[in-house]
Amino acid sequence: MSVPPAAVAWRLGLFGALWFILCGGELGSWPFGLPTVVLATWVDLQLAGNGQTRALRPLILMRILPFFFWKSILGALDVMARVLKPRLPIDPGLVEFPLTIPPGGGRILLANCITLLPGTISARLADDRIIVHTLDKGLPVVAKIQDLEGRIASLYGPCPAKETGRGLP
């Protein structure tokens, strides 16, 4: 399997930065750090498997990040409001959702982001569908996941079919 040099460089830089943060920038730590960084890069490449390396697009990631943070805060406020009310206003249930995003990192990111959305957690990810547990079946769960899926699809390299799902919260 041939590995593109860009993938190696990215990982080396990332793990190097990680080591730098962990050791507080101390110079004496690098005799241990350098082999560790190289080893981590090697292990990560092994684990990444049959290299479907569709690069994340950093600029769009920057633009979408505030949306994720905002949704996550809304999600926490939603849980807080429900839990603190004496009547405990919940109406939980399972919702199934067919996925159009291709398998790989995007799906895992989607599953993790669904967990951040108000009122939903992802329960199972299996062959082209995802089972979501919702705190309130009255919420527009499917519409929200569709919106999220569109945003995550636009994070990854060119994918002409899914560029339309952006906009409207």
Binding site: I21, V83, L84, L88, I90, I121, A123
Partner: protein, 107 residues
């Protein structure tokens, strides 16, 4: 507190406000863990409320921090907790579904 520079006190106070905002999220996470009826709903309380609470606490501490390395380390901790708890939430929900634990529903 006793340092006369206005800017220093400003970051201290703003940081403290963020930290204090974070605390109620933790408390509601614990209350949710105790009050909610089944494992799936409890996962909601744990993964959402606690992560956001920790986010606010870390944001506050980062505002007060004196070096960039400390800020980087704080956000690294937050990122790790975020990924770890989202992943373990998914794992537990998946395992519970596999064992046919029915979600609690309103009658």
């Amino acid at each position: 507190m006793y340092v006369g520079q206005g800017g220093l006190i400003m970051t201290e106070v703003v940081g403290m406000v963020f930290i204090i905002i974070g605390i109620p999220f933790f408390l509601s996470g614990t209350i949710g863990l105790l009050r909610l009826p089944d494992i799936y709903t409890r996962l909601h309380a744990l993964t959402k409320a606690d992560n956001v609470g920790l986010g606010f606490v870390i944001l506050g501490l980062a505002i007060q921090a004196t070096s960039w390395l400390e800020v980087a380390k704080l956000f690294l901790i937050w990122f790790l907790v975020l990924v770890a708890s989202a992943t373990s939430c998914h794992l537990v929900a998946d395992a519970a579904l596999r064992r046919n634990i029915k979600p609690w529903t309103k009658e």
